[in-house]
Symmetry: C4
Subunit: 384 residues, 4 copies
């Protein structure tokens, strides 16, 4: 959990912007919710590496260097993340780390880096089989481990060659698709694959609910220490309604995606703040069982779009249930425990459970309100 | 044929449990039906290999070691199977055999192992082309042969890269899909491929009849000594009805899948026992011609689901015919010999045959009752 | 053009059978039509190679050895073909040539072999990328060239990895699909791919018209000296009607597939003989331009099946037009020259042409009867 | 921008033809519009390389050699392009450059070559993974760079293995599909792939609008110095109507494809000339932002075919909007700024813009006429 510069600021970043964001995170008490990482994405680079071949930052944007920035962030009790690319150039056209894994990892460690997002542009054809992608990303994994500093390794190869199959032993998370954009469910030709199981053009401009679709078969591959990354959050960037952002945040949480804020944290509405600080939802995301929810069914709606039921198990015999609606109208659905508890078996399917709505607040003003006790089904749920 | 710990007990195994199962197999006379292998699946492992790099069992679960367990099983006239993985870890997170093929095979031989199930988790990207999968699985094949001990080699790479194309010279059987689950025909998003001819995410939670679907084009690749493995049986685990388990057992048999029980053999209903001891069906499975049946047609039913006709040839001019129904209602169908004998030609298609129903008992109480003589067709068969 | 043992006799071959076939070919004057090759398919092998590692025949089936057989066939003015496999075993389980390319090619040359059909079974995972398939098949190509004897090289890798893309510089022809079977258009689950552009399970039991479907996009890749091989002919084997065999022979001819008889040439009906000796059709096949016809359209028919228009160009400003019907009923269609001459342009599309029906005989009893002169279209053609 | 021999003349080229074309380009003032390259495609070759292994031209077609031709073209102020192939032979069967990259690049540089189109035939199976294609094409890239002469490198591997993913660091442009042909939207079996994201048979005879379809998801991969090449233009070759060629030229322009004329420039109608000299459209193509337009939607039309909306951004806060219609009838559509400005956000989507029709001329006779000011939408546009 943390924050990243890219979704809102793209290449327009500098020391001030990052420090302002870090301060805002403190001011809004975000670390107490778990948002600890301050991640600097692409475009921090100087035009070239230094004479020794080591990476160096843009001297205008980062006049005090990265180490100074990192120190300040650490002094606030936060962690610091950086970005590079497993190719000759980053996606933004700056120097990449392919062939420079050792010196780059060493430099990051010297700078006090705690997190590396490692992208996939300009990889010189070193993809197309799991072996090629594994080897390329493993080189940085080994280099990071060689530094002796714990650095969270966030692979960003856009689901190419199935990282869910090969990356769990070398990385902490892996992106599963092309980049999200701030939109609920619009299909965009730049995110052309219907599934990411064998997608050959990850692209970008993937609508939020499409990424949920992509993630549905992949939950089985994630677990503690090795996660599917559904991409950074768009909550607060303005392209979706409150209900849509609630869906976005909830689904990212129950699919156990890293929760990395992508908005301008120095300038948030109350609505945005209330969504990202729903600690009941965050608890689902951080549940120690680390088991992503599963889509139990997906039904087409006659008006267009789909209605979906998701469920999953948490620690302490608790379970999570979610309905998602991409149709243009409200839908009413009866949730059968036969579907919810497909993995738990007959006793659960006919059992009685107390239901807590994580998007209502209880009498004490805390997220999560008990809304009744149900046996075998929850009848007539309305989902907007 | 045999029994395996996984489907019913998962990781909760130890010496007592396995010996109890072996004793129950003797008590129920299962070896006389052909069930000879007692196979210990994942989670028998200690936390690490021993100081020499050799595998060693969990000292709590197996206080007497594996050799002692194997000896006891052999003393009952049964054979003993073990489990490992062609990766750095087993699917359950224990040490894998990748890079340790020789020492592991030698150790298994010393332990008196007769069967190896060899899984596919954490394979470091060594898949994606038949060559990579072949090389990785061949390393263990060579190592097993080097021991001099006959050890049945059961590849479990979930159909990746088409083992039916490359494994017949190195293994005795190969899994064709993700793991079965104890369900007749429910579609589950965790088993997302519609076909396994080029599936890139094998997954698990594949319903029983979906695996039959996956197997349909692959029967041509199996034969004596090299079999398609449809995964271990779920008969008796409670998720299907009697008729559904009858279908399960019958179809596994006529597709010549290994028949490995996956239930708790110490606690079986009479129904379960009667299914798994239908020696007429077992004879079809063990028929020396070793020729899997072929699906001759698959027709959609207006109420949903499908009706399928399968047929195949046995030794001694006998043939097997099966109908399968995944629709929600009973179906009536006339079986044409033109379809049944597509491979045998015109003389058979117009011929006269005596029909034996392998799921009825004759006057002596033996499975298999003659139910009439038919020419060119069997009219109006009802299939539930 | 020639004859091959497999389609009719499978593994039941010996010297007598092959010599009888060769004599029948002479008796029926087939060489004068172009049928020159007598090809011995799988199962000619002894149990093992000889002590030097060279191939040797089954001593019972071929008591005089292969050289003697080859000599006799040459003495009849015919050429002699043999079969092997780019794997460890042939499809029938005999020794393969993988790793023995040089000694096998040398031996074939010593035996006077003129043609090699080179199969794809048991290839140890050496497929899955064009490079792997190319290298494996190129090894034999080089070995054949090293013998100094001209040996026609007929690749049989079932279209795997797209031989039309990589084989034209190393082979004379390449199979494009799984094995044909003697059936007009029945779909069989053992030939599961809808297209062979990227088929991962070639299989067999591919109906005749399905192979035409597979060939449709591939005609562009063939030309003099490098041909798409649609597999050996089934004409005369009994599974199709006269009209269906006429379609079979015609389409193989205009797609420029090698015409290798697959029936029992010692026992042919007059109908069979008349089809395979239609020298007008054979002339289309052997036309020196070597340009396969193209499918100009394929239209679904309401009763089921399809109607297709094919056209192509021959030398001397002649063109070939074919209609194919896989629907259950007769169809009437107007053939537009806009479609026929899509490659030739406007002048041809409005031009006037004299039409010869190659399946009618003229007044002198020769195949090919003029049936009229047409401008811009041929109206109301009936196709059964 | 320039002209190429292939689309109109194929293999029938010689020095006179190319010089005549160059002179016609000067006569029609085409260089002032940006058409600077005179590109000689396949079939300029002698039967073999010279004794040193260097390429040499056909002495009959090019009696003065290539250097002399190049000099004459340079003396007209034009640039000179040549063609070769990353295989053992060119598509036309002449010597290829595979294994001869250094000597060929050096020779081209000596000849004064400014542009290389590098084809993909007969590549010996060196494709099928991005790595294999990258390595093969990179060999020529390195060789060209080693010459010290700036030579534009135009990859023509027909989209195999996704050059948009791997070629931007080694080439200036890459073909994305099989060859175009001079037809608006006819489906042809020789261009069988529905998408080029993972096409295994590029083929040829791809209709013009099908190539636009192929290009739609790929625009995101192009930018200054690395372009998607939709293939050479067919404008003026006679297979399309005026409106269709207008669509062709417009869409190539806004997708930022290289504009390489493929007609006979010595013999052009006024219509043809007016299309290719629409400098407003050319300005869109050459816009320095280098950002290809995106297809915002594609809607099927009940009469058949599709209606599409494309939009993109240019420098100076200008935008391009295009509608394309492949249905058989005129269509009326309201263009919503919500769709046009999906990337620019809410302020643009409700904004007011002045519209210029680039295919009408203004009062001064210049291409581009203001046709009104619109807010939020352009209602009722008719598209033929």
């Amino acid at each position: 959990m943390g924050w990243n510069t890219w979704n809102h600021f793209g290449c327009s970043i500098d020391e001030d912007l990052i420090l302002s964001a870090a301060k805002a995170m403190i001011q809004y008490d975000l670390p107490s919710y778990g948002y600890n990482y301050v991640n600097m994405d692409d475009c921090w680079h100087a035009a070239t590496r230094n004479a020794s071949g080591a990476p160096q930052p843009d001297p205008t944007k980062f006049p005090n260097g990265i180490k100074a920035l990192s120190d300040q962030i650490h002094s606030m009790g936060l962690k610091f993340g950086i970005y590079s690319d497993a190719g000759t150039m980053t996606c933004g056209g700056h120097f990449g780390s392919l062939g420079y894994e050792e010196i780059d990892a060493q430099t990051y460690a010297e700078w006090g880096v705690d997190y590396l997002k490692y992208d996939n542009c300009f990889n010189q054809g070193l993809s197309g089989t799991p072996k090629l992608s594994y080897d390329r990303y493993n080189n940085m994994s080994v280099a990071l481990n060689n530094t002796g500093r714990p650095i969270l390794y966030s692979m960003c190869n856009w689901g190419e060659d199935g990282p869910w199959n090969f990356a769990s032993t070398i990385a902490n998370s892996w992106r599963i698709s092309g980049d999200v954009y701030d939109n609920y469910d619009r299909w965009d030709v730049r995110c052309p694959c219907d599934s990411f199981i064998d997608c050959k053009l990850a692209g970008f401009h993937c609508a939020m609910t499409r990424i949920i679709d992509f993630a549905a078969p992949l939950g089985q591959k994630a677990g503690p220490g090795h996660w599917n990354d559904l991409d950074m959050l768009e909550v607060g960037n303005g392209g979706m309604t409150y209900d849509e952002y609630v869906t976005h945040f909830s689904m990212w949480a129950l699919l156990k995606s890293p929760l990395i804020l992508g908005n301008d944290v120095t300038n948030m509405t109350n609505e945005t703040l209330s969504i990202i600080t729903n600690d009941a939802i965050i608890a689902v995301n951080q549940d120690s069982a680390g088991s992503p929810a599963t889509r139990q069914w997906k039904r087409s709606v006659s008006e267009g779009g789909y209605l979906e039921l998701w469920s999953g198990s948490l620690v302490n015999s608790q379970f999570i249930i979610a309905l998602m609606n991409t149709s243009p109208t409200n839908q009413t659905v009866t949730v059968s425990f036969e579907d919810v508890f497909i993995d738990q078996g007959a006793a659960y399917q006919t059992g009685t459970f107390t239901l807590t709505d994580l998007w209502q607040k209880d009498d004490q003003g805390n997220w999560g309100k008990e809304v009744g006790t149900y046996t075998a089904q929850i009848p007539n749920v309305e989902i907007g």
